[in-house]
């Protein structure tokens, strides 16, 4: 989903010229660029009405979702440094930072696409199910519904875990859980990931039992015995995006979450009229501006850009 109308949320595939004369649905001329990703097909067919609330909830209140993003985005970088904890911690911090510095509208598709990456590239891998099965296997089958009923209150069904302390450690524990699975996913031959489970058995089982239901809806539905329950009782609308049935992309994420620089670069490769060097500093391709009927001006510094249709100029001069 490289392009999205910021007004009505309609999405356009990479390289589409459809929106060059304004959004066909709402007539808006403000669009947002997100990088071409292997999941572009999935993203574009996601229901856009869900997006505003889903994105807000996910990024502001649902920690597991946020970690999903960062885990997905950093997975490739992890392959260079497969060890777990400091990476995970760094990632959490990075996640916070990036969450803050990206405006809501600019970030949401990012979240979505990387979260989709997570689900897609995670679920086909059988190795990823291994760690999940240890926890969900030991849990009663109703684990999902207990998760639904509330993360804070449902301490009764978990034998050895105090949820209040969990709440304090859930970030790192959760990150560990994620990193472990990611390691398996990304680095099948590495055996160290399983030993890491032994390092922090408490935190890990906590994290998995409580939060991994998020990802285990995907992973377990792919490899374990309760696929229909997972999808059927899925409480959060954005979980639909994780559903592997929406499509799988075999290729792995190309790298870290793309920086604004990369976004700009990619944007300018498509529409070479104006290049943003840095906020307030632009390079203009005069011939491209002259030759093109319409102009894509990416001046919002956050991945959003404006297409100026000649008519809109004439209005101001009439």
């Amino acid at each position: 989903m490289p392009h999205e109308c910021t007004n009505c949320g309609r999405t356009f595939p990479d390289g589409s010229k459809e929106m060059l004369s304004g959004c066909p649905d709402c007539g808006g001329n403000k669009f947002q660029f997100t990088p071409a990703s292997p999941s572009s097909g999935v993203g574009s067919e996601s229901p856009s009405p869900d997006r505003p609330t889903a994105g807000d909830d996910a990024t502001s209140t649902d920690p597991s979702f946020a970690t999903d993003d960062t885990a997905a985005s950093d997975r490739a970088s992890r392959s260079g440094s497969p060890r777990g904890r400091s990476d995970a911690a760094n990632r959490l911090e990075k996640s916070d930072v990036s969450t803050r510095e990206w405006p809501e509208t600019a970030r949401r598709p990012e979240d979505r696409s990387s979260a989709t990456d997570d689900a897609e590239s995670g679920s086909p891998s059988s190795s990823r199910n291994a760690p999940t099965s240890t926890s969900s296997g030991s849990r009663p089958p109703a684990s999902d519904s207990s998760w639904i009923s509330g993360t804070g209150n449902s301490s009764s069904d978990d034998d050895s875990v105090d949820r209040s302390t969990l709440a304090e450690t859930e970030e790192s524990a959760q990150a560990d859980a994620r990193s472990e699975m990611i390691s398996n996913d990304e680095l099948p031959p590495v055996s160290g990931s399983s030993s890491k489970v032994d390092d922090t058995p408490h935190a890990r089982s906590d994290a998995e039992s409580e939060f991994d239901t998020d990802s285990s809806t995907d992973t377990s539905s792919g490899g374990e015995s309760e696929p229909t329950v997972d999808t059927g009782t899925d409480p959060a609308p954005e979980r639909d995006d994780h559903d592997p049935e929406h499509g799988r992309v075999v290729s792995e994420p190309s790298g870290e979450k793309p920086s604004i620089d990369e976004l700009r670069e990619e944007l300018n490769e498509q529409f070479e009229s104006i290049k943003i060097v840095s906020p307030g500093q632009y390079e203009l391709n005069l011939m491209e501006l002259y030759n093109r009927e319409e102009y894509i001006i990416s001046l919002q510094e956050d991945g959003r850009y404006v297409i100026d249709v000649p008519d809109s100029w004439r209005d101001g001069d009439g």
């Binding site: 009229s273 307030g280 203009l284 030759n291 001006i297 100026d308």
Partner: protein
Amino acid sequence: MGLFTELKDSISRVTDRLFSEQEPKRIGIYGPPNAGKTTLANRIARDWTGDAIGTESHIPHETRRARRKENVEIERNGKTVTIDIVDTPGVTTKVDYEEFTDEMDEDDAIRRSREATEGVAEAMHWLREDVDGVIYVLDSAEDPITQVNTMLIGIIESRDLPVLIFANKIDLDDSSVKRIEDAFPQHKTVPLSAKEGENMDEVYENIAEYFG
């Protein structure tokens, strides 16, 4: 809105045709930033209509939207030519907000920079579709051989548009009209100071001759 504007335009053009032999030619005033385009446009508009077109400033990129003054009637030697004047934003290949930070705070400078960039795009659009002739304004105290000037004049030539080069700011000590004549010998160069009103007679004669 676009439709309405077009309709209005076409009606006004029909009306124009009823009262004059041909519709006014639309003359674009082009050039790099801070060459004196708006000062020239205002000078012409004030001389012949009494109104100004835009705000002049010593800070570059003051004009960030194209502005048009229609039906400017210029009389020369008993002959009247009617033109529409389009004052365009200065064209450049780089816009940097730091150029403005001495004059305004950073936020305003960045905004100005962004608008100036959009202005360049708009100016290029006008050049592509909406002008019948070009007045190319240069600061005669500056080196005229730049990428922007060469490229723009090349585009104008490729479109076979009539073009006059105005060597502005001849009131400055560093001014050199010859440097401009040498740079673009294929075009008529007219020296002037739009700010001081110097040599405006020759300016209007050439406008009447080239665009009449």
